[in-house]
């Protein structure tokens, strides 16, 4: 117990007495962890975008031209019975035209081009679903109900092109993340290892004397390893804070939010609390691992007396 407390005390002293070097070590740690954090958040950001696109737009089913009204009514009735469908509204060609005119008030040319001809617009059903995640499944069911082959296309298919692209980007990001994380891990290990080696080099004599007095290797090494853990831990906390702030900054830049503590917690909410915790956990784990491992390796060569 005495030994344990003494080791803790020694590592704390080492941390403060080498103020500048500690600062450098933490700074480098923050940089690396921040990069990893940014990549992970980008992943989440794109994932969010995909979900948003799928969710925000309600589903529209467009019919082919000259479909008999009875078929549409029949079709509508069947769709209303599909699970997870909240409501179905029929939009006739005339209603679609009226909407178009209403939406294009600022641009007379667009209205004139149509020349009040409702046949430019397909009739459609606007479907609202109870749960956004069930959208894809609802689409499948709607298509299977289309026995008379009256559906021309759906809004989902149009969006799908964008979503597919986003998915590809996300996959690429995920892969890039792994590769970049690995490279960063190695770079971080080397840089931090070197930084810690310098701090230890300045205390070479101390180690030598400790050895000659009969200190065990672990008694000498623990304070350094704990110092490394401290670098990693503090670095991770700072990096996590900065990741959140940067995400916040991007959100603010895009104009969809404004700065406040509420919005910070909202950012974490956007991330998902689980993801935020996992990111924090990952950064702490990574930081501590790199910090302690570097210290362990760096002390090794001075302990060979």
């Amino acid at each position: 117990m005495q030994l344990f407390l003494r080791i803790i005390k020694t590592s704390w002293q080492g941390f403060w007495r080498n103020g500048w070097l500690s600062l450098v070590a933490i700074f480098i740690m923050v940089q690396v962890l921040l990069l990893v954090g940014i990549f992970l958040s980008l992943n989440v950001g794109v994932g969010q975008a995909i979900r948003a696109i799928n969710n925000q737009i309600d589903l529209a089913v467009f019919f082919k031209e000259y479909v008999p009204a009875a078929d549409i009514t029949n079709f509508q009735a069947r769709i209303e019975n599909i699970e997870n469908v909240k409501s179905v509204e029929f939009i006739s060609q005339e209603q679609a035209l009226a909407r178009y005119i209403a939406n294009s008030q600022h641009n007379r040319d667009l209205i004139e081009a149509i020349d009040s001809d409702a046949s430019f617009f397909p009739a459609s059903l606007e479907v609202k679903v109870t749960h956004p995640d069930s959208l894809e499944q609802v689409i499948q069911q709607i298509k299977s109900q289309d026995t008379n082959n009256i559906v021309a296309t759906t809004s989902w298919e149009k969006n799908q092109a964008v979503v597919d692209k986003l998915r590809k980007i996300n996959k690429l990001l995920a892969l890039g993340n792994v590769v970049i994380s690995l490279i960063l891990l190695i770079v971080a290990l080397l840089i931090i290892f070197n930084t810690i080696r310098i701090t230890i080099f300045t205390r070479k004599e101390e180690i030598e004397i400790m050895k000659l007095v009969g200190a065990t290797d672990w008694y000498i090494r623990w304070p350094f390893v704990l110092e490394g853990v401290l670098y990693g831990f503090l670095g991770a906390l700072l990096a996590f804070g900065l990741t959140i702030l940067m995400y916040q900054g991007v959100v603010w830049f895009l104009g969809s939010s404004y700065w406040s503590w509420q919005s910070v917690s909202k950012t974490i909410g956007d991330f998902g609390l689980m993801f935020a915790l996992r990111l924090l956990g990952f950064q702490i784990f990574f930081g501590i691992l790199v910090g302690s491992l570097s210290s362990y390796l760096a002390t090794r060569r001075y302990l060979r007396i």
Binding site: E205, E206, I209, V213, G214, Y219
Partner: protein, 226 residues
């Protein structure tokens, strides 16, 4: 207690120690003399397990020191106090902390550290300087701190490697007297030096070395090279 059995140590092609044979009894005071490069430091490094012999064995109480497991070496070193020419004090620690340091690594309680450290500083006559830092001390005082640190674990063997090398004659003489006093209190002392006056004034066993070889071993010897 200590036995060197035809110990040879090579550094590359250099023979630092060549077939050394001698033994040291408990409570003995042995001066190890000879010019630089004679092999004195090699003998000391072999005793502290900083170096391993190329041939031969070094035994203490019949046990081969160099067969000790690596993990056991720290505990072995606690039984040997070593004093160096350059003192090897920690500059950012006070006199008291420098001595206490040797006890701290063993996991002694704070009380034991306080009483033992104070006792040792008293023995070397530096109680009043407990709060000074090494750079505030004279060479002689610094060496006393080093001796106090070496003794605070109550070692059976005290090794002094050129302890007077950086000291003026008066301080050197004082340190020599302190070593004799420590020996009289029951600790085996090995003093490596090339200070003729010191060795002659002590008047105890002298082992003379040259080029890695022992050239004479006399019970009440004087410093001699031929």
């Amino acid at each position: 207690m200590i036995q060197f059995n035809r110990v040879t140590k090579h550094y590359g092609t250099v023979r630092a120690l060549d077939g050394a044979v001698f033994s040291i009894l408990p409570r003995e005071f042995v001066s190890l003399v000879g010019p630089s490069g004679a092999g004195k430091s090699t003998i000391i490094k072999l005793l502290t397990c900083e170096e391993y012999p190329t041939f031969g064995q070094v035994t203490i109480d019949g046990k081969d020191v160099h067969l000790l497991k690596k993990a056991y070496i720290p505990y072995y070193r606690r039984q040997i106090g070593v004093v160096y020419q350059d003192f090897k004090l920690l500059q950012n620690k006070t006199v008291f902390e420098n001595v206490a340091f040797a006890l701290e690594v063993t996991g002694a309680s704070d009380e034991v550290i306080k009483t033992e450290t104070t006792k040792m500083l008293d023995l070397v006559g530096l109680k009043s300087k407990a709060k000074s830092f090494p750079h505030e001390l004279s060479g002689g005082e610094a060496q006393r701190v080093a001796i106090a640190r070496a003794l605070v674990l109550h070692p059976r063997l005290l090794i002094a490697d050129e302890p007077t090398g950086n000291l003026d004659p008066q301080n050197a003489w004082d340190i020599a007297q302190l070593l004799v006093k420590i020996n009289r209190m029951g600790t085996t002392v090995i003093l490596a030096t090339h200070n003729r006056e010191i060795v002659d004034s002590i008047g105890k066993r002298v082992i003379s070395m040259k080029n890695g070889k022992i050239i004479s071993d006399r019970r009440h010897g004087k410093y001699r090279l031929n």
